[in-house]
């Protein structure tokens, strides 16, 4: 990742935040707006970050994965279903049901990835087609099961959708408590401190995703595993001649990628809202691929790019909050369908390569034949 790229990311985020601050300052002080937007940005960037990490592991090992969207959707469904089953059918506690739900989601992601690996590594099917198969399968499978299990006569839950046991709790990082003495008697200071603390009060998957970004970066560029993973993605024959099992490395990395996509799926139905609806991933798997490309196939770069998309979603949410104070000359910002286009326009803009081309791994998408 070059500095120009990070600079561009920072610039877009500043523009998006600046727009909201300019409009909203008549209602709220800028500090509050910025901190709340930051908190939203980090939270909604979570599935994109995890999706991009999924892509990074697969593609660094030489397997193109456009099935991230489908992996996320399936995982979101089965994670949610698992939590409901544990709670309602097996009568487990809320906490354990939700936690197991996350594990089910990760497991589902891994299984979908296994399908992709079998198709693309063992049977050397065109990897774009393999990914498309997964995306279509995901839509059909989740839509069908959702209907069969929850609706209509004879369905498992007797036609009524049972309540999910709930969502993961927010973890409070006690910055406010630690730094309060520094404020003394200043109320303004305390208000700001509370606002800033809100940025760090995130849910477990959001926090986990950020930790995973840095962990993945370390793994990929500083460990034996990472060196071998990148080797099979760049020049598998060279890896083969020094005794590295190319197929095995690719399988394991695709499975790891699937687990990341599974965790991203869990974000939707176990961390964000406690419900499932068909097609709820809504193209985020594809946006995370764009983030991966813009981040030049590096975890930290992909995360930074995911934050841009997160910020554009935060813009959409805040435009609705400040709808009544939008100046008349900017009235188009009142239309959520226009503001809602921002992430997709950004995706197209970013992928044109105006900010400089990125380079995929040399053997990305190429099956290895001895």
């Amino acid at each position: 990742m070059d500095w120009k790229r990070f600079g561009f990311i920072a610039l877009i985020i500043i523009v998006l935040f600046g727009t909201v601050v300019m409009i909203g300052q008549v209602k709220q002080p800028p500090v509050l707006i910025i901190t709340s937007m930051l908190a939203t940005t980090i939270a909604v960037a979570t599935p994109l970050t995890l999706g991009a990490l999924s892509g990074v592991f697969c593609e660094r090992a030489g397997v193109v994965n456009i099935g991230i969207e489908g992996m996320m959707l399936t995982s979101a469904f089965f994670g949610w279903l698992g939590a409901i089953y544990m709670f309602h059918v097996f009568g487990m506690g809320i906490g354990i049901s939700i936690t197991l739900g996350v594990f089910f989601a990760i497991l589902t992601g891994a299984l979908m990835a296994l399908l992709h690996a079998v198709l693309s590594i063992t049977f050397k099917v065109d990897q774009i087609i393999g990914g498309t198969v997964i995306n279509i399968l995901a839509v059909g499978l989740t839509g069908f099961l959702n209907r069969q299990l929850f609706f209509g006569a004879g369905s498992v839950f007797g036609g009524s959708v049972p309540n999910s046991p709930g969502v993961l709790p927010t973890i409070h990082i006690p910055l406010r408590e630690i730094f309060t003495p520094l404020c003394g008697t200043s109320t303004a200071c305390l208000v700001n401190l509370t606002a800033i603390n809100r940025v760090f009060d995130q849910k477990p998957i959001a926090i986990g995703a950020i930790l995973l970004v840095f962990f993945s970066h370390y793994i990929l560029f500083n460990t034996r595993w990472g060196l071998r993973t990148r080797a099979v993605g760049e020049h598998p024959k060279a890896a083969d001649t020094v005794g590295i099992n190319v197929a095995q490395m690719r399988y394991l990395n695709v499975l790891i990628g699937g687990m990341f996509a599974g965790l991203a799926g869990a974000y939707f139905t176990i961390e964000s809202v406690p419900s499932f609806e068909p097609l709820l991933t809504n193209g985020r798997g594809f946006i995370s691929l764009a983030a991966m490309i813009f981040g030049n196939w590096t975890p930290i770069g992909a995360w930074a790019a995911s934050l841009v998309f997160g910020a554009s979603q935060a813009l959409l949410i805040n435009m609705q909050i400040f709808r009544d104070v939008i100046p008349p000359q900017w009235s188009f910002l009142q239309e959520s369908y226009i503001v809602g286009l921002t992430p997709y326009i950004l995706t197209m803009f970013i992928l044109t390569g105006i900010i400089g081309k990125t380079t995929p791994p040399a053997a990305d998408g190429v099956p290895y034949e001895k």
Binding site: L227, A231, E234, H235, A238, T241, V242, G243, K370
Partner: protein, 517 residues
């Protein structure tokens, strides 16, 4: 290349022995009961044409393939080699013809890959770099461990490959066609390194098809042909002609036979041509020359002096930004390749795999690439498969292309046979007036070189004009009637071959000025 003294009388122990190795590939018996042995500290050359089975034998020893029959004995013990891991463990290292290096990795990362040193889970780059520096010092193999491999010139990349084997404590090093990609200076340097290595007890198998190199550097020479070992000889008791004979299986003419031949009028006329490369730099400046019917004009020069851009401009692959090109009086400046081809150009391009063939097309399709759009290959826009097949069968036998069938992908053929497919397609066309051959024999074996040279001379004798571009001075001198020397984008001299010498040409190639003769 200085002649090596006859190897010492004292025979060192055998470190590697391959016994009755047999390997069958679909349609080819690649190795037929091959015996081979290597003594400690010797350079044992394995000589043979493309497809003779040299690389197969080495891939079997290195564990990339598995023999159907036979055994491999290392230091007196039979070893079972199932993968490169086993051969690496047995102390065998291999430098492949196409380097097995990852361009975006550093030298240290490439060297350690597969045998990484770690410290608490992290790659220990410092220790690896120290190891590399130690090996560099010990064997005179200067490399910077932190350099990105893709930025290094080919000669240095090859050193990295050698360091890779030594890092793994290899005592037996296989070098597969190591000089194919090197300049003469780099090759000399490699031979020095090879002697340094053997001086320290490393044993080397040197695979090549270049006779001069074998005689200069090997202690013993084993010649293979068609999957079998023909003979093993020592350099002192043989010569180039005998080796070539064993390799090809018949008498080989090492010099090209060429009768005097009267040239006719100008066919190719190049007038003040200037060309820019893709970076926009002018690499051909105001070049003018003519080629007459029935003569070969050779363009000599060190690679990278504008030859590539010149031939691209003449063949319509690159637009010149000044000057004119005439073929048989017709102005073809900046015309597309199809028009130039139709006007009588046969083009044997420099990069046969990128510009000469479609690697994923069959031999038959490749043989019709110039004329597929007109009868008999095409009828009202529909390809006539029958005509393609007939044409291919005719050319395959006329030009001796070794292919299992006309329907094999061109990419599956050996380099020599790929080049023959191109030569067959280009030279068999009916209206050829001009042949432009750029590096027509680079990387090919004796048999193919001989064949392509004779085809070029045949064209000349038929009254066709031939422009030959080559960095091999021997080739230029053997084939050309007149020689033009190119230096920094300009033609610095044009002389008749008979009236010049190797030394004189060498001086011009290095930039010495001359009046055109």
């Amino acid at each position: 290349m200085a002649k090596k003294p006859v190897s010492s009388e004292v025979k060192t122990p055998i470190v590697l022995e391959a016994k009755e190795i047999t390997k069958q590939f679909p349609g080819v018996l690649a190795n037929d009961s091959v015996d081979f042995d290597l003594r400690k500290g010797e350079i044992h050359a394995l000589l043979g044409e493309n497809g003779a089975g040299k690389s197969t034998l080495m891939n079997l020893i290195y564990g990339l393939h598995h023999p159907d029959k036979g055994e491999i004995i290392v230091n007196g013990k039979t070893v079972a080699i199932h993968s490169p891991n086993d051969s690496i463990a047995a102390g065998i290292g291999m430098v492949h013809q196409h380097f097995m290096l990852i361009p975006v990795f550093t030298v240290a990362e490439n060297v350690m890959l597969g045998d990484e040193i770690t410290k608490r889970g992290s790659l220990d780059r410092a220790t690896v770099a120290a190891r590399i520096n130690e090996i560099s010092k010990q064997y005179g193999l200067d490399v910077d461990p932190n350099a990105i491999v893709g930025d290094l010139p080919v000669g240095l990349q090859q050193r990295v490959e050698i360091v890779k084997t030594l890092y793994r404590n290899a005592e037996i090093v296989i070098l597969d066609e190591p000089t194919a990609v090197l300049t003469p200076q780099e090759a000399e340097d490699l031979f020095r390194i090879m002697r340094d290595l053997t001086g320290r007890g490393v044993s080397i198998i040197f695979i090549t098809h270049k006779l001069k190199e074998v005689l200069a550097v090997a202690d013993r020479i084993t010649v293979m042909r068609a999957g079998r070992v023909v003979n093993t000889v020592v350099p002192a008791e043989t010569n180039e002609a005998q080796l070539a004979n064993m390799m090809v299986g018949r008498q080989v003419i090492l010099t090209v036979e060429k009768k005097d031949h009267a040239a006719s009028g100008d066919i190719l006329k190049v007038d003040g041509l200037s060309v820019r490369d893709q970076r926009g730099l002018e690499t051909v400046h105001n070049v003018s020359f003519t080629v007459r019917g029935g003569e070969v004009l050779g363009i000599a020069g060190v690679q990278g002096n504008g030859q590539t851009e010149l031939s691209e401009a003449l063949t319509g692959l690159r637009e010149p930004h000044g000057g004119n090109v005439f073929i048989d009086g017709q102005d073809l400046t900046s015309k597309p390749p199809r028009i130039i081809t139709a006007a009588g150009l046969a083009h044997i391009p420099e990069d046969r795999q990128r510009h000469g063939l479609v690697m994923s097309y069959t031999v038959a399709d490749n043989m019709a690439l110039c004329d597929y759009y007109r009868p008999p290959f095409s009828n009202r826009g529909v390809i006539q498969q029958k005509a393609l097949d007939e044409n291919a069968r005719k050319l395959i036998s006329a030009f001796d292309v070794r292919t299992p069938s006309p329907f094999v992908n061109a990419g599956k053929l050996s380099g020599g046979n790929q080049q023959k497919v191109i030569v067959a397609r280009e030279l068999s066309r009916s209206n050829v007036k001009l042949v432009i051959a750029n590096q027509p024999t680079r990387g090919l074996d004796v048999g193919s070189i001989e064949y392509i040279h004779s085809e070029i001379i045949k064209m000349r004798d038929r009254g066709v004009a031939v422009l030959l571009i080559s960095a091999e001075l021997d080739e230029i001198m053997a084939l050309s009637d007149r020689i033009a020397v190119m230096y920094r984008g300009q033609i610095v001299a044009i002389v008749e071959t008979k009236k010049t010498t190797r030394e004189q040409l060498g001086l011009w190639m290095a930039g010495a000025h001359a009046e055109t003769a």
